[in-house]
Symmetry: C2
Subunit: 136 residues, 2 copies
DNA sequence: CTTTTACCCTATGGATTTAGTAGGATAATG
DNA sequence: CATTATCCTACTAAATCCATAGGGTAAAAG
């Protein structure tokens, strides 16, 4: 299940991508138009900024803005940042790999086999979908 | 993230599918060979039985056995039973649909659009993968 | 230089889910 | 009737989620 954090994060990014210029948008504006708790959104935008997706400006006329062209932001980046691993099990994760404790032979594991297929497909979708695609 | 419940459930089902005859296999046997906590596995097999996937036999020589041909058991069934919705958000779920509180227009929602694609792909994999496929 | 605006940061807490455990009831076999 | 093995309910420690609280800091306006 997708966390609200990720869901809100994507919505906020789309909101910013739809902005014509790079004019900063205030948290309160996004919060209201997207129906997101302002304080919660604040923490989400903060992590997006800390990870290089967003820039911010303080004081009057301040707010958040995208640092890159929406075309250059694939959903893999966003998902890994907010949601974590894309794979459903750590043993098939590219960026968050972990061995299973219970599983002796990974290659013989049915769950591994199945979830590898799912990951490959999901990954391809996220790779080929950019923020620009979602903003139209 | 896939729950251990689902993971263990799949492993147990594969174990039973690999059994030549329909001879009942005891919980303790599965528990040992698959490295699963016996009591936890007990509750998983119970729900699989209550939902028509497994049959059981009590007393000496008892245990669990598949009720159908592994070829006739698609992973959609198993996933929905143990894990719940296949979709990452309720608003794109076929069997567990729920409207979002924050989202006014579902068709205009970027998250909806993206997750619909993911669901379609994942669903097709689970539909086309049967227990028999995982047991080879 | 003071006030207002708006982001920055940490801590805390309620609700829910997860991954079991405990302990006995029930039914079948020999 | 003793043994075996499933059946069933209840409980719990730990983790995660979704916030909220409360102030701190920087920038701009006047």
């Amino acid at each position: 299940m997708l966390s609200k954090k990720t869901k809100y994060g994507i919505k906020a990014l789309v909101h910013l991508a739809r902005q014509k210029d790079r004019v900063p948008v205030q948290i309160s504006t996004i919060s209201k138009t997207e129906n997101i708790s302002q304080k919660f959104l604040e923490s989400i935008l903060l992590t997006l900024r800390k990870n290089g997706l967003l820039g911010s400006k303080k004081g009057k006329g301040g707010g958040y803005y995208l640092l890159k062209d929406p075309k250059e932001i694939p959903m893999t980046t966003v998902m890994r940042l907010l949601e974590g691993p894309i794979a459903m099990v750590p043993c098939v994760s590219l960026n968050f790999y972990e061995k299973c404790d219970d599983c002796l032979d990974e290659d013989a594991c049915a769950v591994n086999k199945l979830m590898l297929k799912v990951r490959d497909n999901t990954l391809e979708i996220f790779r080929n979908t950019t923020l620009a695609d979602l903003s139209n």
